[in-house]
């Protein structure tokens, strides 16, 4: 051992200890999902299952009341819709605020930005339902998806806006001379160049919508068959049979964890990029 690595040893011990605490709850959840319910309750101290069993997954996949395949499907289509919508609306809005020059632009951008801090919270669900009711979509997961079309993803707009600003304006100007319109210039020139930032936005909104809890809960109250996986697992916890359903909850949680952990594994640089943008000002 060289002198330098010996000097670094205490650091590594500390970092590893923190690492252990960081992954322990995840590891615990995944491993406990392979325990039988009685083992979860009687020998909580063992991390690894004494008897490895797939029963929880089999039960979860076949249960009527806790219909995992159905919830998984709901999660998938909800997430796919949200990601598509977010990428489309934030890229057009970001482009407009980067390249547009129209009366009211500054004011509109200021209003959109202020929404980060001004919000009345969840009580606004009543008037939002009232609006969606006029098209028969309140209390329906599709209603929430429709609402997302009209959502203002200000952080994503910031991301696109600052990215478009790094592209040379000459790109579109020559197209304008050839008679290309502002909107067409976006779709044929700018959008293809936005791939890197679109990947970041896609990953971030995938994570956000897959993990979404409160809003999908409110929109599926009267339609349990539309529950997403996160909503279903959390609903099981607040139900009366929570104590006897830890095995199902842990199996459900593990299934819900896999896609985000996988996404983070293959694309963690995008998470970091989005994070840096969360701190941008002005």
């Amino acid at each position: 051992m060289t002198k330098k690595s010996l000097k670094n040893l205490p650091y590594y011990i500390f970092l590893t200890a923190v690492l252990f605490i960081t992954i322990l709850p995840i590891l615990y959840t995944v491993l406990a999902s392979f325990k039988s319910n009685s083992e979860i309750l009687t020998s909580p101290e063992s991390l690894f299952p004494k008897k490895f069993t797939l029963d929880n997954y089999i039960t979860a996949l076949n249960s009527e009341s806790f219909n995992v395949p159905r919830m998984l499907w709901n999660s998938i289509y909800y997430t796919v819709c949200c990601v598509t919508i977010n990428m489309l609306t934030s890229s057009t809005a970001g482009y407009v605020f980067a390249r547009g020059n129209f009366p009211g632009q500054k004011a509109l951008f200021a209003v959109f930005s202020s929404l980060m801090f001004i919000s009345l919270g969840s009580i606004t669900i009543y008037p939002q339902f009232e609006v969606l009711d006029t098209v028969g979509l309140s209390g329906n997961l599709w209603g929430l998806i429709v609402m997302k079309i009209f959502g203002i993803g200000i952080v994503n707009i910031y991301l696109v806006r600052s990215y478009v600003r790094t592209l040379p304006a000459a790109l579109e100007e020559s197209a304008y001379i050839d008679g290309c319109s502002f909107i067409r210039a976006f779709f044929s020139i700018i959008l293809p160049l936005l791939k890197p930032i679109m990947a970041t936005i896609g990953i971030l909104s995938f994570q956000a919508s897959w993990n979404d809890y409160l809003m999908p809960t409110l929109f599926t109250l009267t339609r349990p068959e539309q529950r997403t996986l996160i909503v279903g697992v959390a609903a099981l916890k607040s139900s009366s049979e929570a104590a006897s359903s830890w095995n199902l909850m842990l199996a459900g949680s593990t299934i819900a964890l896999i896609p985000v952990l996988f996404a983070y594994g293959v694309a963690n640089k995008h998470f970091v990029k989005g994070l840096a943008s969360g701190a941008v000002k002005g």
């Binding site: 670094n8 650091y11 970092l15 690492l19 605490i21 960081t22 992954i23 709850p25 995840i26 615990y28 959840t29 406990a32 020998s43 909580p44 101290e45 609306t89 057009t92 809005a93 020059n101 009366p103 001004i118 919000s119 009345l120 919270g121 969840s122 009580i123 606004t124 669900i125 008037p127 939002q128 009232e130 609402m147 009209f150 959502g151 203002i152 304006a169 100007e173 304008y176 319109s181 909107i183 993990n211 979404d212 809890y213 409160l214 809960t217 109250l221 996160i230 959390a234 916890k237 607040s238 830890w246 819900a256 964890l257 985000v260 952990l261 983070y264 998470f271 970091v272 994070l275 701190a279």
Partner: protein, 312 residues
């Protein structure tokens, strides 16, 4: 109304094209503008108006009550206690989380082998849904759960601690889970800030014979001040708005003592969580007062932290 800078960059476009461009800009913003009107401004107007009424969801029984809802909220000790809990949550969480993140960032900044691996692992909990985190932590801290079993095994406690049925126990679990969830984010921010401190400054300090602690407090920390300002703002904002996480982990238990203000409003007035036929007018008044206080917090913090921006 054309700006001179725009004229420069857009020499080729004539006035006619600009008018055309304005229409197209607004066309592209249609979804956001409709959303602003229907799903943000109208709901705000609705809530502001309903806060003057006794209203349980049925228009027929609606009754104008004047200031009564607002006066009621100001006298509502349960409500103000949830503010107290929110602040308690914040001041227990941040003093642990931020120094921890800072220490980790300082170590990782030493260019150790594997620093990138540690950094991305620490961020991992942040990609998980808070609903799942609530579930995991309430399972691990169950009376007959993993944590109690290990604390007993290691001889740290004589008998099980009932974490989730006492206020202090439940708060401890909530704070541990919340720190676990977000410390990695702050590690990331701090590492980014540290990499902006010029190497020469450290060398100059070394030449002047400054010790490690002096260097940290006189150079590193002041150089990081602008980032710190943002990090603390985001952390404060996050803690103030904590809601889903509380709803899933404790749902206020025991006896509503762990409700933060946002989770309390959900629990009292939002369908699926609240009881039937609550006075929504009262809920609107409470939401209005809450959001005004939240804004005041943000403004006060920005004012107080102004000098952090220009330390160097």
């Amino acid at each position: 109304m054309m700006k001179t800078s725009k004229v420069k960059t857009n020499k080729s476009s004539a006035m006619g094209i600009n008018a055309h461009k304005t229409t197209q800009c607004y066309l592209l913003l249609i979804p956001e503008i409709i959303g602003l009107l229907l799903f943000i401004l109208y709901p705000m107007y609705w809530a502001a108006q309903k806060s003057w009424f006794y209203y349980t969801g049925i228009e027929a029984t609606q009754k104008f009550v004047g200031w009564q809802n607002f006066i009621g909220v100001f006298k509502d000790t349960t409500y103000w206690n949830t503010w107290f809990t929110t602040i308690k949550f914040m001041i227990y969480k941040l003093p642990f989380e931020l120094p921890l993140a800072m220490i980790i960032a300082l170590i990782l900044n030493k260019k150790l082998k594997g620093a990138g691996f540690f950094r991305s692992m620490y961020y991992l909990p942040n990609v998980i849904s808070v609903a799942i985190i609530g579930l995991i932590f309430s399972n691990m801290f169950d009376y007959f759960g993993f944590v109690n079993a290990w604390l007993m095994k290691l001889g740290l406690i004589e008998s099980e601690i009932s974490w989730l049925s006492t206020t202090s126990g439940a708060m401890t679990v909530l704070i541990i889970g919340a720190i676990w969830n977000t410390f990695g984010v702050n590690v990331m921010y701090f590492i980014a800030a540290l990499s902006n401190v010029p190497e020469e400054m450290y060398e100059a300090a070394k030449l002047d014979g400054a010790g490690k602690l002096t260097t940290f407090f006189k150079i590193t920390l002041p150089m990081m001040a602008p980032v710190m300002q943002t990090v603390i703002l985001l952390a404060l904002n996050g803690s103030l708005h904590t809601s889903d996480y509380i709803l899933v982990t404790t749902n206020g238990a025991p006896g509503g003592t762990t409700f933060t203000v946002m989770s309390y409003i959900v629990n009292q007035f939002v369908p699926g969580f609240a009881q039937n036929s609550v006075n929504l007018g009262y809920g609107c008044a409470m939401s209005l007062i809450t959001s005004v206080i939240m804004c005041l917090f943000a403004i006060a913090y920005m004012k107080l932290s102004k000098r952090m921006e220009n330390v160097y």
